[in-house]
Symmetry: C2
Subunit: 330 residues, 2 copies
């Protein structure tokens, strides 16, 4: 299996993608092509030890910045690591693509070059949320910010396939994120999607509010990509804000509280691990005719390694093939 | 000043609304009319000491439940505490209305009976969010889940008036919640609202992502009520989930970690206080031609007292009059 890694994607590129790729080839049975500025990639690689035959480099002369407008940059920068890397997947020279770069650009380039699976109208980014009980998959968290009700049904079907074949769940429950549980609540868009999900063959358990989402009552939660993106970012930022507030309160505190804080550190770190993007690895871009994994821009080498592992699992468990089967059965 | 308190609203009604009203008349210079089941209200009052001349009761025979569909119940239950209480404001027999009951029903009944301020097309619920720096006001968090861009401009103007006259800020900054900072990001709705806000006289500083919101970089943040409601509920639920996870981790921990946790308690409680709805009190329903404060359904007596205080301030600071002035200047 060969996985393409966008060496120029992420806040600390090429260092983290390259180091993560090296960790991955050492730990897993796969080969990697690093796409990006060859000189800069070699600069990072030269200090690392790894089985040289398992890592190739494809030079790409352009970089799409983290904040560049997606559609324009994808069309203009044909030799960017994102566009060039995805082309390798398009021409079947690799099995999957992984990037911690500009998410909008990855979604746009993947949709244009790989196209969508038959029966899918829009791709969706699926993220595993930590909850009090079992984790929940939320789809979409930002690929499609102005969806139609039908897209939410398709997300449900894709999430169901992922839950069955990657997370090994039997008859996974699917819910829709809403501001109330009753089927009469929400916008017209939400109400229409509710009817479609209810009439489908999915194990649809109805609407969930954010409160229930964090309790983990559904295996798959579908939502509008705008709302899903806010959900994802609020969760991340709130975790950050809470830590920062704790730090400040502790500064003001007595010595005994400070000693106490030091002693609770192991428990706090166990929680941090649970909500830490670096532990969870990548989010699949579901619905494209290829395997694309998106990692957090702030990923460290371990997060990149986990995202590469997620890409390999997506290939091995034949998720796309299962999605097509499920969609065909409708 | 007379404030109407919905004695039947909230998860622990009538106990908490009645107890909160008693705390308020003891602490502040105001009079209260409790609206609801007179017998049940008396049952709570009889054990409390308070200046009897400052509390009146208006018997209302019906109750709108927390999860009842808003529009239908408001039309059917004309003698509910919400509808009857708001009518007292409509006929100028009171200065403000406070409820911890069904939010949708309060929004609907207030809009129908009090009508909107001239120049306002939709009401909006404004909530003060705790942030790392100064608090930010977010409007709307659920009154209007399918807004037009113009409504967001009106929210900006109302939030600006509130910030100036209640929070005493000079030239408050206004931002719009979006999934990216660039003006080219977001849905068509967001882009249109961005243009309107930018061309207004407001001190509009552009889009903010949830991350910036929690840093407190804007005094007022406007958003779609669906997204705002998700934002509010995610923040609440995440705080709950994090506490629960900490509790579970601590159970598994060593004795020394447990002792440490006990010692950090003062710092953790200081944070809890900062994000606790019971400390913050009520959220104004802005844009209606009257003064309506909505409290959290889970409010305790202290939260009710704070919400009543918020209602009194809304009256004293003449917020509605200032909103009308600002809107007229456009």
């Amino acid at each position: 299996m060969r996985i393409i890694v966008d060496a120029m994607g992420g806040d600390r590129a090429p260092e983290m993608p390259v180091k993560g790729a090296v960790l991955a080839v050492k730990e897993y049975d796969l080969e990697i092509t690093l796409v990006g500025d060859e000189k800069k990639i070699q600069e990072v690689l030269k200090d690392l030890e790894y089985p040289a035959e398992k890592i190739k480099i494809l030079n790409a002369t352009e970089v799409i910045g983290m904040d560049e407008p997606a559609a324009i940059s994808v069309r203009k920068k044909r030799d960017s690591s994102i566009v060039a890397g995805l082309n390798l997947c398009k021409y079947k020279e690799a099995d999957a693509f992984m990037s911690a770069g500009n998410t909008g650009a990855v979604v746009c380039a993947a949709t244009l070059s790989l196209r969508l699976l038959p029966g899918v109208d829009r791709p969706g980014i699926a993220v595993i949320f930590p909850t009090i009980e079992k984790p929940s998959m939320v789809i979409d968290v930002g690929a499609n910010i102005d969806p139609k009700p039908l897209h939410l049904l398709q997300y449900g079907i894709m999430g169901d396939a992922y839950s069955r074949h990657i997370l090994k769940k039997t008859n996974p429950t699917v819910a829709m994120l809403n501001i109330g549980e009753e089927s009469t609540k929400g916008t017209d868009f939400i109400k229409e999607a509710h009817v479609m999900l209810k009439e489908s063959k999915l194990n649809f358990i109805g609407n969930v509010e954010p409160k229930e989402l964090f309790k983990g009552i559904a295996d798959v939660v579908v939502c509008d990509g705008f709302v899903g993106n806010v959900l994802l970012k609020v969760t991340e930022s709130f975790a950050f804000a809470a830590t920062e507030l704790l730090r400040r309160e502790l500064k003001k505190s007595s010595l005994i509280t400070k000693i106490g804080a030091l002693m609770t550190l192991p428990a706090l770190q166990a929680i941090k691990k649970r909500i830490d993007a670096n532990e969870y690895g990548g989010a699949p871009l579901m619905g494209v005719d290829g395997r694309v994994i998106i990692a957090h821009g702030a990923s460290n080498d371990n997060a990149i390694k986990n995202a590469i592992k997620a890409a390999a699992e997506y290939v091995n468990r034949r998720v796309n093939e299962h999605i097509i089967e499920e969609l065909n059965s409708y």
